[in-house]
Amino acid sequence: MAATARMTGASGQVDLSVSTIRGVGALVLLGIWQGLALSGFFFRDVVPPLQKIAFGLAALFGNGAFYANLAVTGGELALALLIGGLAGLLVGLLLGGSQLMSDAYESWLSYLGPTPKIILFPVMIMLFGVGSGSKVAMGAVSCFFPIAISVASGVRGVDPTLRRVGRSLQANAWQMFLKIELPAMAAPLVNGFRLGFGVAMIGVLLAETKLSNQGIGFMIINAYTRFDMPQMYALLIVTIAFAAFVNAFAVRLARRFGARTV
């Protein structure tokens, strides 16, 4: 396996496995961090030593408020994915199924998709208030675009032979969708939801850091305001690790369906 392969180069070269190189890389990075933390170069806990971050992580997992805020953010994120995902799915099916619709509207999706959605937050506050509604709206708008674009391209990528087979078996519209279209576009669908999850999470959490009194984003900005650096680092580590875990899982799932992921 690549991870444990040995160097077969000229004699005299250091024979390091990939996992050793990774271990050395991680140790070097952690060592640089610890060195900076102990150097006194930074003010107080701006770069806290590793043990303080570890204590911060332990304290976070033992803190009941963390789980309450996690539930708030989780609920907002789930609702955002549901609303934005369903809207994206419907629009994607519509655009993918009609060349005219695609020519008329898809370029707008491609251009509006990458624009920074946080600029819409003031509008969302006016429309949905300062509570969870505006955070859900931010997440929903963020995830709508990648899902719609992926679904539209997925519908176009369905092999016409499969559709002909469905029609020859006299499948109705619902059966065509469930038995033919959906399985055939599983890869772009999973990929779209993977991208959608990432941007929805960013949308919800950034909105919470901007204006909220609950949620993980609020906890992060609150820790920053109180200059509680170990807790802030702990929250960032947990959040980014969770996002990376979900992304890695979705990448594997998408690849199982034959998707190419960037």
């Binding site: 690549a2 991870a3 392969a5 160097m7 390091l16 990939v18 996992s19 190189i21 990774r22 890389g25 930074f42 701006v46 770069v47 005219l100 020519d103 008329a104 509207y105 370029s107 707008w108 251009y111 509006l112 990458p114 624009t115 920074p116 946080i118 600029i119 819409l120 937050f121 003031p122 509008v123 506050i125 006016m126 429309l127 990432g198 999470m201 960013i202 959490l205 950034l206 850091t209 901007k210 984003g217 992060i220 900005i221 820790a223 920053y224 650096m229 802030m232 680092y233 960032l236 959040t239 980014i240 996002a243 990376a244 992304n247 890695a248 960037v262």
Partner: protein, 252 residues
């Protein structure tokens, strides 16, 4: 079936926008939609000039573009050499390419309070966040670009006994350039998104801060006009990058 007119799709697209604005105008004028939440589209259009003149749009535009370009330059100066190093050292590539992919997918912008602590509430923070969000895709696409150089081209360079430097400048780099540009386009898009986003979040800098300022002043037409302006700038930016990429691909 007759051929469809090439003007039909643009006409539908334009018609939808005009229709949606007209419907919104009617709903707001009839106060079915509150004018205290959504301003009249005509008021938004009218406020464009005021926002551009009174709120110093050209200067703010220059600040945002300057931050994006500074971060973009850093992305190019760091991302391409990292990609090249990992392409040249196969073992390092196997070890660290998944790390780069994880960094590219990580929501690094969430760590903006950390960057605030490290670099202060300044343009430097915005540039560093822009850089952090765009460097990994550039490095990944650089690796992909060099690795996808056709074997026959490398064999030709060897048969002509090119030096490693000549091989790099005359074979590898031209072959990898289209893919590197794909990476730069992605990197710059991530960079612009994060630059404007952080400007809104920390209320500092150019166009992002303007939206925040106008919203805090409850200048609704101005806020919507500023948002429209940022969306237009983004679209223009992405369109230029897309054209550049297509031009390079045609040349490649």
């Amino acid at each position: 079936m007759g051929a469809r007119s090439p003007y039909l799709a643009p006409a539908i697209s334009l018609g939808t926008i005009v229709g949606a604005l007209a419907v919104m105008q009617g709903l707001i004028a009839a106060e079915i939609v509150s004018p205290y939440i959504v301003p009249l589209p005509t008021d938004i259009l009218a406020s464009f000039e005021r926002v551009v003149v009174e709120e110093g749009i050209p200067g703010r535009f220059a600040v945002t573009v300057g931050e994006t370009l500074a971060a973009g330059l850093l992305i190019m100066l760091v991302g391409i050499p990292i990609g090249l190093l990992l392409y040249r050292r196969a073992r390092l590539r196997t070890a660290f390419e998944p790390w780069l992919a994880a960094i590219a997918a990580a929501p690094l912008v969430l760590a903006y309070p950390l960057f605030l602590v490290l670099f202060g509430r300044s343009s430097l923070t915005i540039i560093v966040i822009g850089f952090a969000s765009g460097v990994a895709p550039v490095a990944l696409k650089t690796i992909e670009g060099f690795a996808s150089t056709r074997r026959v081209l490398i064999d030709v360079s060897r048969s002509f006994r090119l030096t490693p430097a000549q091989e790099f400048w005359q074979i590898l780099l031209p072959a990898a350039l289209p893919q590197i540009f794909v990476g730069l386009r992605l990197g710059l898009i991530f960079c612009l998104i994060n630059v404007v986003g952080v400007e809104v979040l920390i209320n500092l800098g150019g166009l992002g801060q303007l939206i925040n300022d106008l919203a805090e002043r409850y200048d609704l037409p101005g806020t919507y006009a500023a948002i429209s302006f940022v969306v237009l700038v983004s679209i223009l930016f992405f369109a230029i990058l897309g054209r550049g990429e297509k031009w390079l691909q045609r040349r490649g």
